[in-house]
Symmetry: C2
Subunit: 206 residues, 2 copies
């Protein structure tokens, strides 16, 4: 019998009203109608404009040993893989580890520079997590997003720790974290203010 | 020409998913299905169990010079005032100032001990705010809640400062702060962690 030491963590930037992206997401505006440039400039000002203040949280974002993301976060291609889309992050993505992409459309693994390989998982969130755990060994698995994917993992009780980066903005519509997720008991593990964000880390108790 | 020095502030306890009360609110369970006793024990543990840590925020809650609340926060009576309901807060309520209650049913002002008087306003949120501002002089007006009332004031652009007390719990359903409120630009004025809560104060810019 083995003891699993790695955790399943998830971190995401949310507005004060809990949104992670606005309406009308597209390839040109992956974060949709967010009141900014559509690339999340307002949501992500905390790490683009004040990175020095937030170095620990920025490093945490890619510190896991395996990653899971929804196809909507991976890219704008819908339906069949009718073009060679390899993510938003260029030839050398910041993950440096296996990234499991949830999709309904099978595709061969896509190795990238720097140790990142995109694996495409067609048999659901639990299968993806099993593969990610095996790949991570005793390291953490990170559920990267988007919120729709995180909500599925939360609703299934599969996330141990949730890191919210709460930013001073409301969107009123779009993709909302916790949408469709039932009651959760949380423990506030840490909470820290920086100038453009409040970082709150919760342990999910049940 | 006079300069108004008092602000319109609002403070409320919200879950990590933005709810201020659960479903099925009633006289016996004013906070509805909140996973606790229905009296908000889980929502309000931060000030019932760790008051010493949160003295400044607790004092702020009743520091305004006039208050506004929705009828749902004032009490469980619906429709006509068919009984002498004088709020949840006993003979000497913690407001010590005029409290303007939004209602569709006229009622004479109700003086209480300690300086609180309940005034019943039937002509809408702007009329209530005008009366509260006149009563507050150069002091602050507090929009006390519930969230439905705060959301109306936010949507109308009438709140200057919003104080959220974010607690480690999600409800998944109920009354949600920011529901129906469009995009707001906020400025994070302060953010402070205590053991059972994160306090974040926002200035509403637009």
């Amino acid at each position: 019998m083995t003891t699993r030491t790695g955790r399943v963590i998830s971190g995401i930037t949310v507005t004060a009203d809990g949104y992670t992206a606005g309406l009308n997401q597209s390839e040109e505006r992956p974060f949709g109608d967010d009141g900014g440039d559509g690339w999340g400039d307002k949501l992500h000002a905390w790490y683009s404009e004040t990175a020095d203040e937030n170095q620990a949280e920025i490093e945490q974002m890619t510190a896991a040993r395996a990653f899971i993301m929804g196809r909507n976060m991976f890219g704008p291609v819908r339906g069949e893989w009718d073009r060679q889309w390899n993510g938003w992050w260029g030839d050398n993505p910041p993950y440096h580890a296996p990234v499991f992409v949830l999709t309904h459309h099978a595709r061969e693994p896509q190795p990238m520079d720097g140790g990142t390989t995109y694996h495409f998982v067609t048999d659901g969130i639990e299968a993806a997590l099993a593969q990610a755990r095996a790949a991570a060994g005793d390291g953490d698995v990170a559920i990267m997003g988007g919120a729709t994917t995180i909500n599925q993992y939360l609703a299934a009780g599969l996330i141990d720790e949730l890191r919210l980066h709460i930013v001073p903005l409301t969107l009123g519509a779009g993709t909302r974290l916790f949408e469709g997720v039932p009651t959760l008991e949380l423990e506030q593990v840490s909470s820290r203010a920086a100038s453009l964000v409040t970082h709150v880390t919760y342990r999910v108790l049940s």
